[in-house]
C-alpha cells in the first residue's frame, strides 16, 4: 500500500528528469534497435533471405512469391480452452457490452465523448512515461512529458488533444509494460484468451497488470479497495473505452472466416509491430 502511495512522487521525479533531458540541446543517445523476439514476427515485405544471408530475388512465378508471405504467429497450446473463453467473450460483448456502448454513444454527444476519451488517455501518461524510461527511450519520455503538459494545461485537463498540432508529438509512439518486456527480450509465452478482457499472452498479461497499476485512474481502487463512492472514475473509464475497444474487435473479426483465428492473428501481428516501435 505504502509503495503505491509513493508512486506519484516517483513518477514526478522521473517526469522532471525526462523533461530536463529532452530540453537539453543534445538528444539522448538512441539504444541500438532491439531485434524482435518473435521467431516469425516479420511479415515478409518482399525478398526472402537464404540461410547464408543473401537475398533472393522475387521469382516471376507468383506462387513462389507467396511462400514468403508469413506473419507473426503465437504459440497456442490452450486453443480448445481459449476457443471456449473467446466464444463466451463474444456473447458477452454482443449481449452486454454492445448495448452499454450504444447507450453511451446515444446519451453522450460526440464532442463530449472525444473529450472524455482524450482526458482518460492523457491521464495514462505515467504508463507511457515509465515504460519509455524503462526502455531507455528518454527522448520519447521527454516528448511524452511535453505532450502531457500541453494537453493538460493548454488542452484543459486533457479534454482537447492540443499536441496533435505538433507533428513530433502527434506521431509519438505509445508505450506499455508488455512492450517493455518485449524490448528486454522476454518472449510472449503462450496465447491466452482472458475472460472479459480477451486476447493476451502470458507476458502481456503481466504487462497489463503493470499498466493497470501505473494508470492513475486505478490508483483510487488500488488504495481504497474499490469503495462504492470512489468507483465512478474507473467505471467511467471502462464505459468510455467500450466504443473504441468494440471497434477494434469488429475491425479484426468482421468478415472473417473464423473469428477466433482472425482475432488471434491480428493480436499477434499488432503486438509484434508494437514491440518493434
Amino acid at each position: 500500500m505504502k509503495s503505491i502511495l509513493q508512486l506519484p512522487v516517483l513518477l514526478l521525479a522521473l517526469a522532471t528528469a525526462a523533461f530536463l533531458s529532452s530540453c537539453a540541446s543534445k538528444p539522448a543517445p538512441k539504444p541500438a534497435p532491439t531485434p524482435s523476439t518473435e521467431p516469425a514476427s516479420a511479415p515478409a515485405t518482399g525478398r526472402a533471405k537464404k540461410a547464408d544471408g543473401k537475398s533472393v530475388r522475387p521469382s516471376k512465378n507468383p506462387v513462389d512469391d507467396i511462400d514468403t508471405y508469413s506473419a507473426a504467429t503465437i504459440n497456442d497450446p490452450l486453443e480448445p480452452l481459449n476457443r471456449v473463453t473467446f466464444e463466451f467473450n463474444h456473447q458477452l460483448y454482443t449481449l452486454v457490452f454492445r448495448p452499454v456502448s450504444k447507450t453511451y454513444e446515444f446519451i453522450v454527444p460526440k464532442p463530449v465523448r472525444t473529450g472524455v476519451h482524450n482526458a482518460f488517455e492523457n491521464a495514462k501518461y505515467p504508463v507511457r512515461l515509465v515504460n519509455h524510461s524503462l526502455q531507455g527511450r528518454f527522448d520519447r519520455a521527454g516528448k511524452e512529458t511535453q505532450k502531457f503538459f500541453v494537453n493538460t494545461f493548454v488542452g484543459v485537463g486533457g479534454f482537447v488533444k492540443h499536441s496533435d498540432r505538433y507533428p513530433e508529438l502527434a506521431d509519438l509512439p505509445s508505450a506499455d509494460t508488455g512492450q517493455t518486456f518485449a524490448k528486454w527480450g522476454v518472449g510472449q509465452g503462450p496465447y491466452i484468451v482472458l475472460p472479459v478482457l480477451g486476447p493476451n499472452s502470458v507476458r502481456d498479461t503481466v504487462g497489463y497488470a503493470g499498466d493497470y497499476a501505473l494508470n492513475p485512474v486505478n490508483w483510487v481502487t488500488l488504495v481504497f479497495g474499490g469503495a462504492t463512492w470512489i468507483i465512478a472514475i474507473p467505471s467511467t473509464n471502462s464505459v468510455r473505452s467500450l466504443p473504441v475497444q468494440l471497434g477494434v474487435y469488429d475491425a479484426a473479426t468482421k468478415d472473417s472466416l473464423d473469428r477466433y483465428l482472425a482475432a488471434r492473428t491480428a493480436w499477434a501481428q499488432n503486438r509484434a509491430e508494437v514491440a518493434k516501435r
Binding site: 506462387v63 506473419a71 506521431d171 479484426a252 472473417s256 492473428t265 509484434a272
Partner: protein
C-alpha cells in the same frame, strides 16, 4: 513548447513540398486511389451504397488476383482454374465489404503520406498516418508493379489484411483443400452480419 517547435516549422513545410515534388509513380497512384475512394465515400449514404460505388474504383487500383493468391498461399497451386476464378470473385467481394464496412458516412479521414520504401524491385511500401474519427492509425500500403502499380496489401497498425486471411485460409485448406476454402468463403460472403 511553442518556442521550441516554431523554428523547425518552415523546415517541415519544405520537407513536405520536396516530398510532393519528387513523388514517384506508385506514390502518385496511391494518392489518387485514396482521393477517389474519399470522393466516392463522400457521395455515399451508407456502407451498402459505398460498397456498390467503390467496387469499380478498387478494381482499378487493387490487384485482387495477387491478393487472393497471396491470401490462399502455396495451396493455390492445387486449385483448378475454375476454383481459382471462383475464389478470386468471392474474396474480392469480401475485401470490398471489409473496406466499406469500416467507413462511417460523413467522416472524412485525413491521410498523411510518408516517404516510401522499396523492399524489392517492383515492390513499394508507402506508410501513412490516417486521422479518422479523432484517432490516429499507422496504415501502410503495399504496391506492386504488374499491369501498372496496384495495391496488394494494406497493413493497419501492423496487421496485414492479407496475412490475417492467410492464417484462416491455411486452416481451412488443411481441413479440406480448395473445396473447404471456397465453402468457407461462400459462407462468409453470404453472412450479412
Amino acid at each position: 513548447m511553442k518556442v521550441r517547435l516554431l523554428p523547425i516549422l518552415p523546415l517541415l513545410a519544405l520537407c513536405v513540398v520536396t516530398a510532393r515534388g519528387a513523388a514517384s509513380e506508385p506514390e502518385k497512384r496511391l494518392e489518387s486511389a485514396v482521393n477517389e475512394v474519399i470522393a466516392v465515400a463522400d457521395r455515399s449514404s451508407g456502407p451498402a451504397a459505398l460498397a456498390k460505388g467503390i467496387r469499380p474504383v478498387l478494381q482499378k487500383y487493387l490487384s485482387f488476383d495477387a491478393m487472393t493468391r497471396r491470401a490462399i498461399g502455396p495451396g493455390w497451386k492445387q486449385f483448378s482454374p475454375e476454383q481459382q476464378k471462383q475464389a478470386t470473385q468471392l474474396f474480392t467481394t469480401l475485401i470490398i465489404r471489409t473496406y466499406s464496412g469500416k467507413y462511417t458516412p460523413g467522416e472524412r479521414p485525413a491521410v498523411d503520406f510518408k516517404p516510401a520504401s522499396t523492399p524489392a524491385p517492383g515492390r513499394v511500401e508507402i506508410p501513412t498516418t490516417i486521422l479518422y474519427q479523432g484517432s490516429r492509425y499507422a496504415v501502410s500500403y503495399r504496391l506492386e508493379e504488374a499491369d501498372g502499380w496496384r495495391i496488394t496489401d494494406v497493413v493497419i497498425e501492423g496487421v496485414s489484411l492479407i496475412a490475417n486471411y492467410r492464417t484462416q485460409f491455411d486452416a481451412e485448406f488443411k481441413k479440406g483443400g480448395p473445396t473447404a476454402v471456397i465453402n468457407a468463403l461462400t459462407q462468409s460472403v453470404g453472412t450479412t452480419e
